[in-house]
């Protein structure tokens, strides 16, 4: 099979073509779609999901799932919001936020790797516990009125593109390389394809799992910092449903929910597709309630296309 056929048959390509088609439709229907301010909005809505999807892609490649990222994001919002409120130095805010996410993620990793509790159970439990912690910490009050001067990470732009998207892009490049060419990256696929074979051939299962869950937590934390930067408000329900956006992006982007297959770029495309649909529906003034139907159908159809093509989801 030559290279072109292989590219065309990938899910990433299908999603990419869908994005192009939709973009053309939206661009023809409304001149606002390709405006700089719209693209900039779209990208800043995309950044958080794209960043958390990096970790989620790896977790799902190992055959796991992490439904606690929304709560982790919420907790990271509380930590970063409180620190930004007292005008703490940005490096401290960044480290504290990443540290919070990392701690939750590593806890997930330890329970999955050492306790051998199924990932969906572990992270479901964690989701509830961390959300309870958020409520405890905020005591039902919101943090509001965080000054714009300290919200550069959410509001800042460079060359008209949101700062958060630049960071997301850099992270995607680094981790894509890592996943394809570094030993630990390859072991993520090995664990997902056949954990027993991976173990026999010298892959450290526990280290790999700790790494992917820890990374996912840290990145969800970072997405929380961006969220606070954008809104200037910390709600108790920050990040509720975020896990579903991230998982949808990853699955749409071609990562097999059974593990072993997937790419970070695919997840970015999945997230972009969802963001473009949401954005386009507002620009075209399509009634709001059809949005869920379209995105939901798209997720199921994209997996069905795989099955019809005989590649299946393994």
């Amino acid at each position: 099979m030559n290279t072109w056929v292989r590219i065309v048959r990938r899910r990433e390509f299908t999603v990419f073509i869908l994005i192009v088609i939709l973009s053309i439709i939206f661009a023809v229907s409304t001149d606002r779609f390709l405006s700089i301010s719209n693209i900039s909005n779209l990208l800043s809505q995309l950044a958080g999901v794209a960043i958390a999807a990096i970790g989620m892609t790896m977790v799902i490649i190992t055959g796991g799932i992490d439904v606690s990222v929304g709560s982790t994001l919420g907790l990271a919002c509380v930590v970063s919001g409180s620190l930004l409120m007292i005008q703490a130095p940005f490096l401290l805010v960044l480290l504290a936020t990443l540290g919070t996410g990392l701690a939750v993620g590593l806890l997930n990793g330890v329970i999955v790797a050492y306790g051998r509790v199924p990932p969906i159970i572990t992270t479901l439990g964690m989701m509830n516990m961390v959300r309870a912690l958020v409520f405890q910490a905020l005591g039902g009050r919101w943090i509001s009125g965080i000054p714009p001067e300290v919200r550069t990470i959410g509001l800042g732009k460079w060359l008209q593109i949101p700062l958060a998207m630049w960071v997301a892009g850099a992270l995607i490049v680094v981790f894509s390389y890592f996943l394809s060419y570094r030993p630990l990256g390859r072991s993520v696929y090995a664990v997902g394809n056949n954990p027993e074979a991976a173990r026999v051939s010298g892959v450290n299962l526990k280290t790999t799992l700790l790494f992917v869950y820890g990374l996912t937590g840290a990145l969800a934390g970072f997405a929380g910092l961006i969220n606070v930067g954008r809104t200037g408000i910390v709600q108790t329900n920050n990040g509720m449903g975020f896990e579903l956006d991230v998982i949808a992006a990853v699955v749409l982007g071609g990562t097999s929910i059974l593990g072993g297959r997937g790419t970070i770029v695919g997840s970015l495309l999945g997230a972009l597709l969802v963001a473009i649909i949401k954005n386009g529906m507002i620009l075209l003034n399509i009634p709001a309630l059809t949005e869920g139907v379209i995105i939901g159908a798209l997720i199921i159809i994209s997996v069905l296309i795989d099955l019809v093509r005989g590649r299946g989801v393994r």
């Binding site: 905020l138 809104t231 509720m240």
Partner: protein, 329 residues
């Protein structure tokens, strides 16, 4: 033999006497179930409910779902029925879905009320209404019209698409809109009680309609969201945000000029009135048509509309730069 009987009767009487204070002192337990916990608006209602409970010598139970989840809310009400509270007031997330569980509560002899948002109209004993729906809708529209200089396009960012009160306000806003022939509603969108989503939606709207002049944030989370979007888009002065929200969230935007005025009532008083009304009914009283009730502890004089079994807190309140600092909810 006779003596034994006497002793037995004496013991019985004594033990009943000992037990009776325990029954007598059993305070009414009055529960309020908000649409969701952890947002400033319902926190303010909780504060008022607590204050009323202290003043009136009843026990106040405040519990609700963490998102505006219809099923969770029903589950929580079910649990309250099992616990055997004396009265349940609820701000339903879905006015119809709540009916069966409130019917069940009523069958157990529990006083059933709605507060903040109506629902289960055939079942509930009374609806404690913050302000008449038409007045809130009219006032919101009037404030928007004034801020937009009575002309131009505007959009509405609402929250839950099934929330009865929000939909009713929108209905009255549209009714009032007919008085402003130069204003045009371009779209209604939903942001599901999520500030970030309200910001996203409003930013997209600002892009989609370059000649937009106003945005209504229909609920307490979407109003600050649309105001933040106006601020972020650099459109202060061109686009004006308004809506129904709490002073603590809207204050920064009233100060920066994105919001000129917004509409609400006093949620602390509403929480107080809810508990007061529950106690009033539990004591065996009935509300009467057209009567203005003296409720010590709140600023307004609530009145009763018998046809709809509705107790109205008072007229809606308009907040602007002159009074936004006077409130801490």
């Amino acid at each position: 033999m006779k003596r034994n009987w006497l002793v037995l009767v004496l013991v019985l009487v004594l033990s009943l006497l000992l037990l009776s204070p325990a029954f007598g002192q059993d305070k009414y337990r009055i529960a309020f179930v908000p649409k969701l916990v952890g947002i400033p608006y319902f926190n303010a209602m909780e504060e008022g409910g607590k204050k009323a409970a202290e003043d009136l010598g009843v026990e106040f139970v405040y519990t609700g779902p963490v998102t505006d989840d219809v099923a969770k809310q029903i589950e929580i009400i079910d649990n309250l029925i099992t616990q055997g509270v004396d009265a349940i007031a609820v701000a339903p997330n879905d006015p119809a879905a709540i009916t069966p569980v409130l019917e069940k509560a009523k069958e157990r002899g529990i006083v059933v009320m709605t507060s903040d948002t109506d629902g289960a109209e055939g079942v509930r004993d009374v609806f404690v209404n913050q302000a008449l729906q038409d007045q809130i809708g009219y006032t919101t529209m009037d404030e928007l019209a004034k801020a937009m200089d009575y002309e131009g396009k505007f959009a509405i960012v609402s929250c839950g698409p099934t929330a009865w009160n929000l939909n009713t306000w929108i209905m009255y806003e549209l009714e009032r809109l007919t008085q402003y022939p130069d204003m045009e509603l371009v779209t209604i969108r939903y942001a599901y009680e999520d500030v970030q989503m309200a910001i996203n939606v409003a930013l997209d709207l600002i892009n989609a309609f370059p000649d937009l002049k106003g945005i209504i944030g229909q609920c307490s989370t979407s109003a600050p969201g649309v105001a933040e979007a106006v601020t972020q888009a650099g459109k202060i002065g061109e686009i004006v945000a308004t809506g129904v929200s709490v002073p603590s969230m809207m204050r920064p935007y009233v100060k920066n000029g994105a919001v000129k005025s917004f509409v609400l009532w006093n949620p602390v008083d509403l929480g107080y009135l809810t508990v007061w009304a529950a106690k009033y009914l539990l004591d065996g009283n009935q509300f009467e048509e057209g009567v203005e009730y003296e409720v010590p502890g709140i600023a307004t004089k609530p009145w009763y509309v018998a046809e709809e079994r509705m107790l109205v807190l008072g007229p809606p309140m308009v907040f602007d730069e002159t009074n936004v600092d006077d409130f801490d909810f």
